[in-house]
Every structure is written in structure tokens, then in C-alpha cells.
Amino acid sequence: MWLYAARRIVLTIPILLGVTIICFALVQIAPGDPIQNLLSPTSSAADAARLRAAYGLDQPLPIQYFIWLGRVLVGNLGTSIANNMPVAGEVMHAFSNTVVIALISVALAFVLSMFFGVIAACRSGQLADKLITAVAVFGISVPPFWLAVTLVIVFAVNLSLLPATGMGANGSGNFSYFQWTSLKFAVMPITALALPPLGIMTRTTRSAIAEILNQDFIQTLRAKGLSEASVVVHAIRNIMPQAIAMLGLQLGYLIGGSVLVETVFTWPGTGYLLNKAVQTRDIPLLQGTILVLATAFVLINLFVDLMQSLIDPRIKRS
């Protein structure tokens, strides 16, 4: 087990290195220049060249990359070009804002998907199954940004029940998940984030349970006189490795892929930060954010793999 874990951890290093190279190259290929946002609307090309030199952006790209990589290896993600603040602090603050809503969204989606997935599988072809399937397909199909805007129109603008934007009335610094005055700002972002994974996980749970319920050992359990509820519990235990793998993937997607939802709600997480970094071509911030997200994605998958091997002895043996 430990050898397996160590091997997986070592394998993450080339993956992350590859991520840094791709990320650096993509940022450079895109047109635009980070220092343009720091220039006056009437600045000359000479002003731009002077500022570019001051930030080391006039160096050849490989040198820029290795300078950046050297700093990263000692834990320094650099300084944001846009606001002169350390990237590490910026990213970690945003990351903590994203992780919490992503965790809540995925946990919510997981619990509900297990519930609805099991009901749909047990009532296959009946009205409950059709309704749940319809909601799941809606969740999979609906673009999250459209859902986010619709939620704002309904719950913030028309009903005035929830705030439309931001993370707390005084910014994220005073945010608390244990006070409704703060938490209400998170309700719509969590809902918009939770629906797509809810749809995906419900559909997967339904088909996995339905498949298990048709297997021979289930017939044996029934023949032994177990109640239907106990049979379903056996079925659920059998799909857990698959469900946890799905959970890990969805969490990874939400942490890294919530750009649109966070932008619509002005939620100051990593997605929002990435959007700002792209718009201002803030290369250190962009690289730092992507690196942290990629690391998180890799670590989540590593954790899921280890969990799966703990839950399912067949994986450990293999």
C-alpha cells in the first residue's frame, strides 16, 4: 500500500512539470502583453518597452520559464504584475474560497445523487425514474453560467431573497459559513455548481445500481430472504468505488472549472482569479493559479485512488 502510494506521488512530479510547460507556453502563445494594462492610454511604445524590461519580460522565453520554475521550487510563485502582491497569497486566499463551495456542492450532489439514483434504479421505467432522469439530464445539459444568471434573475432580482453578487456584504475577509448573513451569498453559487455533478452522478448511480441489481448474487440475497432495503444496501456498497472515483473527478472539475459561475457571482475564488489574470495577462498570477489547481487535481485523484484501494480489496490485490 505504502509503496503504491509512494509510486503514485513520484509520478505526479512529471505530470506537474508538464503542466507548467503547457501553461507557460499557452500563456505566451496568446496575443497580448501583461504590461499593457499598466500603461497610460497615451503611452508610447518606448514606455511599454521600458516597463517590459523592468519586469524581465524582454528575456527569451526559456530563460523566463526557468527563472519562474526556479522560484517555484523554493515556494515562491512570484509577484502579480497587476497589483504587485505575492501570487502565493493571492492564490491560496482564492483557493480557500473555491474549495469550500466546491466541497459543499460536490457533497450535496453526491448525497442527492445516491438518493435519487437508487430510487430511479429501483423504480426503473416508472414515473419516479422518468422524473429523476429528466432532472438529471437537465443538470447535465444546462450551461452553468446560464443557470447562474437565471438564479440571479429569479432569486435576487425578482424575489429579493438572495444577494446577486459577492462574498459577504463586506467582502470575503469577514465571510463566515456559520452565519446566514454570510452564507446566503454562497447559496446560489453552490446551487449553480452542484447541479451539473448532480445530474452526472445521478445518471451514473442509476445505471450502476440497475446493473448490480440484475446480477446473480442479488438473486441469492433475495433467495436468502433479505429485505429489499438490505439488498439495496449491498448494491450500494458494490458501487462505492465507482461513486468515489466520480466524486473525486467532479470535485477536481469544480475546483478548476468554476470560472464562469464565479465570474457571474463575482465570487472571489480561483475561477474568478483566473478570469482576471487572463484579462490582464498577469502571467505570474495565471501560472501560479494553474499550477495550484493542477496540483490540487492531481492530489485529489491520488487520494481517490488510495481510497478506492482501501474500499475495494480487488484493486489492492491488482
Binding site: 496575443p31 497580448g32 497615451t42 516597463l51 497589483n83 444577494p163 446577486a164 453578487t165 463575482t266
Partner: protein, 531 residues
């Protein structure tokens, strides 16, 4: 006993919570707060060198800082001009037309108590002009360098008087000083000349003082009770600035009561905002949405092609599409600017456009246009450019639009037309004064790598008039020369004129007292916030 204690503790907790919430409500009701949703993607630099275009100057510049001159933002009826700021007066030295004498305002202090005087002024110029000074900073140069480019040196005459020596005679130099902010020399020195550290407690002399910032989320300023101009002491206690680049988010935030003042609502949200009782304000201001043309190569090196493009524009269609948030433009300036003149017009005349293209032998007249998908001052670039393309192609052009994001288009503009193969770019500009609206746009000497004659437009008549205007210190005579320059530029069809933005803003009904100036900059100090 234990049960009583728990109940007692609960009662105490409830009472304490009620008391604290009451205190909070009381505090909130005692303090009037103006919350502004900006279009900026992030909080602009508030160190005295704002980034993110003129929106940065509007909210993180003129709120915290003053220049030697200020824009007069007190009227909606005329284009804003400059008035005394941290200098009470200025005049050219009668014996030297390259030496401006500035009398500094006395008794003014920065927010941190640091005195404003000649030493502070000279320190402020060195922060951008003198690479050997400890306060010199490339970031500050990037934003502010353009405004001091014509300064050779600055001398102290006495504690309240300085002399600014320019490299060449420049009668329009005082305009540049309305864009150059003075920051606390004591504050920067105390921060060890580290501007990132200084930004923890920045200090200017402006009507608002820095209070706190949540990076990327909000900048909070408070009223400067001791502002030197009592007429401009803010009528609200706190100003909260929130970056909200999405127009739909800004509108939703206003409708949900989370903000009070919204910049640039999109035209399609305006009816809904009006229906909810929001006030929509707009005035003409120097912001033309146009195409800059590359005039050193075909097809736009031929005046007939440039004129044809202008005659092809059905500007009213554009105004209608924008639901009235713009007015038709047949030149760069707006009528209230003193150099507007009486130039030729380019009313919609597709037959004339077709005839001009035929004369020029340009058929189909293929052009490649760089456009942005969004951006500060770019209005609704995608549908607007589609309409321009449609109108151009109706008379014989074949326009290829090449979209890119705003940052990339700024790069195209700064690099100049010769670095790319665009025949035109849709790059809205801010002709706020004669320097930016006339001289830098049309004089050959401002062609790349200088700013801002992107398309290398050149007309010897304009260059001659410009040289005379810069050396003319009599205001009336200078304005006559500048007017003649502008009229000639329009006669040359120096760019494709389309519309002037009316700069809509949406205000909560709780607000009163706002006077929207005909300017990129606005004075937020008169705004009163009702409970």
C-alpha cells in the same frame, strides 16, 4: 442551577447579539455609503498611477489624489476644461516660452499630514523623471511618464512656487498637469520607497482618504473632512468601489440593492432598470467610437476611399440599435468642445460612397479590421462592428473583421499600424483635450513609435497648423488654429467616424446630487445617499 445558568447564558448571548446587531444597524444608518459597480476587471492601482484606462483615473485617481490642475466636473452643459488644483495659478514666463511658473496652493496637507509644498512637488516629478532618485519606479513611469515627457526639469523658486521647464515651447502643457497626481512623499519615504508597501496606506490630497482594500473585491475610501476645497467635501461618508466587469452582474446587483451606482449598463437592461425606478443618466462626452485608418498604404491612403467609408455609415441605425445610448458622430470631437468648428459633414449617402469607390478603382474594396470582443470604452463591439461591416459592404467594401480581446488590441494600437496588416482598427479613444483629440491624433510627429497617430496619418497643412498652435500662448488665437486643424482633419476623412458614446450610468433612487460632467472623469463628491 446548571439549567438556570445555561438559560442565563443563552439570554445573555441573545441580548449581546441583539445589542451588537443594533449597534451595527445604528452604525450603518449613521454612515452614508455610496457603493459603485465599476466595469473594471479588478481594482485599479490606487498608488497615484492608476491602471485600467480612464476608469482607473475616475475612481482610484481623482478620488484620492489631486494634480496641479483639475478637471472642472461641475457642469453637464459644457465639455470639461481644466481649473486650478494643487496650483492656484500658472503662467508662461514672459521672458522664456519654455518655462511655466506654477504658484502652489498653500495650507494643503496630504492625508497622512505630510505638507504639500515645492519640495513635495519636485519629489513627485522625480518619482517618474529621475531614474537616480530613490522614489523612481517603472510602474509609475508606465502610467505617468507620458504626462511629463515634455518636461526638461523642475526648479524650486520658493516654498510655494515652482518653475517647470519644457523641452519645447508648449502652450497646451497645463492640460498634462491635470493628469499627473501628487502623492505623499512622506508616505513613500516611510515605506522605504517600496510602492507595494506604500499601498497599505496610500495618501494623496484628494476629497477621499484610503480606508481599506480587499484585493480583487473592493476598495473602500472615506470622506476627507479637511479637503482644501470645501465645496467638494464628499456628501457621503464612505465610498465603496467594486469591480464588476459583467454588465448583467452590475445590473442585477443594482436591482438587488447591493450597489447604488452602476457604470455602463448594457442598453438591453436599461428598460428593466427604468421600470424598477432606477435613474438613467447620460450626456455626450469626448468618447468617439470609430475606426482608426491606416493611411500610408492602399486602400485608405486614397482620400476618396476614406470618404466613401464615411458616406456609407447610416449612423442613425447604429444609434437605434444601441437604444439611444450614443449619438451620431461625423468627427472626433463633440460639439461642446471649443475646437469643433464647422467642418464638412458625412451624412449617410450610399450612392455617393459607391461613386467614390468607383472613382478610386477599389472594387471590391477589401479591408481587414482589428476589433475587440469587449474592453474599456469599446461599448458593444461585436454587434456594432457587425453593423459597420454590413453598411460598408453595402457600398462595395469587403470587410474582414478580426476579433481579439481588449488587451491584444491595445498591443496592436501601441505597436502602430506598420507592425500588423490591419487596414483599420476599432479603437475608441478619449479626445479629452486638444492634445489628445487633435495634436496626437493627426500630427505626423505622433506617428508610431510615438503615441497616438496609429495609422500614420499625415497632412502638411495640419502639421503646420499644429506647430503654430503649440507655440501660440494666446488662448483665442490658439483655439482658432486648433479649430482649423480639426476642420482639416475631418475634410481629410482622417478616420471613420461612427458614434459618440453618451456614457449611460444607472443610479439608485436613493441617490441625489450627481452632476454628470461631459468628461471621462466624474465628481462623486456631491452625491447624497438617502437611507
Amino acid at each position: 442551577m446548571a439549567g438556570w445558568n445555561i438559560r442565563g447564558a443563552l439570554k445573555l448571548a441573545v441580548c449581546a447579539a441583539l445589542a451588537s446587531s443594533g449597534a451595527a444597524v445604528g452604525h450603518a444608518s449613521a454612515e452614508s455609503v455610496l457603493r459603485v459597480a465599476m466595469t473594471a476587471a479588478d481594482i485599479p492601482d490606487y498608488s497615484g498611477a492608476p491602471d485600467q484606462g480612464y476608469e482607473g483615473y475616475r475612481f482610484a485617481g481623482y478620488t484620492l489624489y489631486d494634480g496641479l490642475a483639475l478637471w472642472d466636473l461641475s457642469s453637464s452643459d459644457k465639455a470639461a476644461g481644466i481649473v486650478p488644483g494643487l496650483a492656484t495659478s500658472w503662467a508662461i514666463d514672459p521672458s522664456n516660452d519654455k518655462r511655466w511658473i506654477y504658484k502652489l496652493r498653500q495650507g494643503v496637507s496630504y492625508h497622512d499630514g505630510c505638507p504639500w509644498n515645492a519640495d513635495s512637488a519636485i519629489w513627485n516629478f522625480a518619482r517618474v523623471m529621475d531614474p537616480k532618485s530613490p522614489q523612481f519606479n517603472p510602474r509609475q513611469v508606465g502610467q505617468m511618464g507620458t504626462y511629463v515627457a515634455n518636461i526638461a526639469s523642475v526648479d524650486k523658486i520658493d516654498n510655494d512656487t515652482i518653475a517647470i521647464n519644457t523641452k519645447v515651447p508648449s502652450s497646451l502643457f497645463p492640460n498634462e498637469m491635470a493628469m499627473y497626481y501628487m502623492i505623499s512623499n512622506c508616505g513613500v519615504q516611510k515605506a522605504g520607497n517600496d510602492y507595494a508597501f506604500y499601498m497599505r496606506q496610500p495618501a494623496g490630497t484628494g476629497p477621499y482618504k484610503f480606508d481599506k482594500v480587499v484585493p480583487h473585491e473592493r476598495l473602500e475610501l472615506v470622506k476627507n473632512d479637511k479637503y482644501w476645497d470645501p465645496r467638494r467635501v464628499p456628501k457621503q461618508d464612505r465610498l465603496v468601489l467594486l469591480p464588476m466587469p459583467e454588465a448583467s452582474t452590475r445590473a442585477a446587483a443594482l436591482l438587488a440593492g447591493q450597489v447604488d451606482f452602476v457604470e455602463a449598463p448594457s442598453p438591453d437592461t436599461i428598460p428593466r432598470l427604468k421600470q424598477a425606478g432606477m435613474k438613467i443618466v447620460m450626456v455626450p462626452y469626448p468618447h468617439n467610437w470609430d475606426y482608426l485608418l491606416r493611411t500610408d498604404i492602399p486602400p485608405f491612403n486614397d482620400i476618396r476611399v476614406r470618404q466613401a467609408a464615411n458616406y456609407a455609415m447610416n449612423r442613425q441605425d447604429m444609434v437605434d440599435m444601441l437604444q439611444g445610448v450614443a449619438v451620431a458622430a461625423t468627427q472626433t470631437l463633440i460639439p461642446s468642445q471649443p475646437w469643433y468648428g464647422n467642418p464638412v459633414g458625412y451624412d449617410y449617402d450610399p450612392e455617393k460612397a459607391k461613386a467614390l469607390l468607383k472613382q478610386a478603382g477599389c472594387s471590391p474594396c477589401v479591408i481587414k479590421v482589428g476589433i475587440s470582443t469587449s474592453g474599456s470604452g469599446q461599448m458593444q463591439p461585436l454587434p456594432m462592428n457587425e453593423l459597420v461591416k454590413e453598411q460598408l459592404e453595402a457600398v462595395g467594401f469587403k470587410a474582414q473583421l478580426e476579433p481579439m480581446d481588449w488587451n491584444a488590441l491595445i498591443g496592436v494600437f501601441l505597436a502602430g499600424s506598420k507592425k500588423y496588416d490591419y487596414n483599420a482598427i476599432n479603437f475608441s479613444m478619449a479626445p479629452i483635450d486638444a492634445v489628445q483629440g487633435i495634436l496626437k491624433k493627426w500630427m505626423t510627429s505622433y506617428a508610431p513609435p510615438a503615441c497616438c497617430n496609429w495609422g500614420s496619418f499625415s497632412d502638411p497643412k495640419i502639421d503646420k497648423l499644429g506647430a503654430e498652435a503649440v507655440g501660440e500662448f494666446d488662448v483665442d488665437k490658439r483655439n482658432a488654429l486648433l479649430t482649423a486643424m480639426n476642420e482639416q482633419a475631418v475634410a481629410d476623412a482622417s478616420e471613420l467616424y461612427i458614434v459618440h458614446d453618451l456614457n449611460p450610468r444607472a443610479l439608485s433612487p436613493k441617490l441625489s446630487g450627481f452632476v454628470q460632467a461631459q468628461s471621462w472623469f466624474q465628481d462623486l463628491t456631491p452625491i447624497m445617499v438617502s437611507p
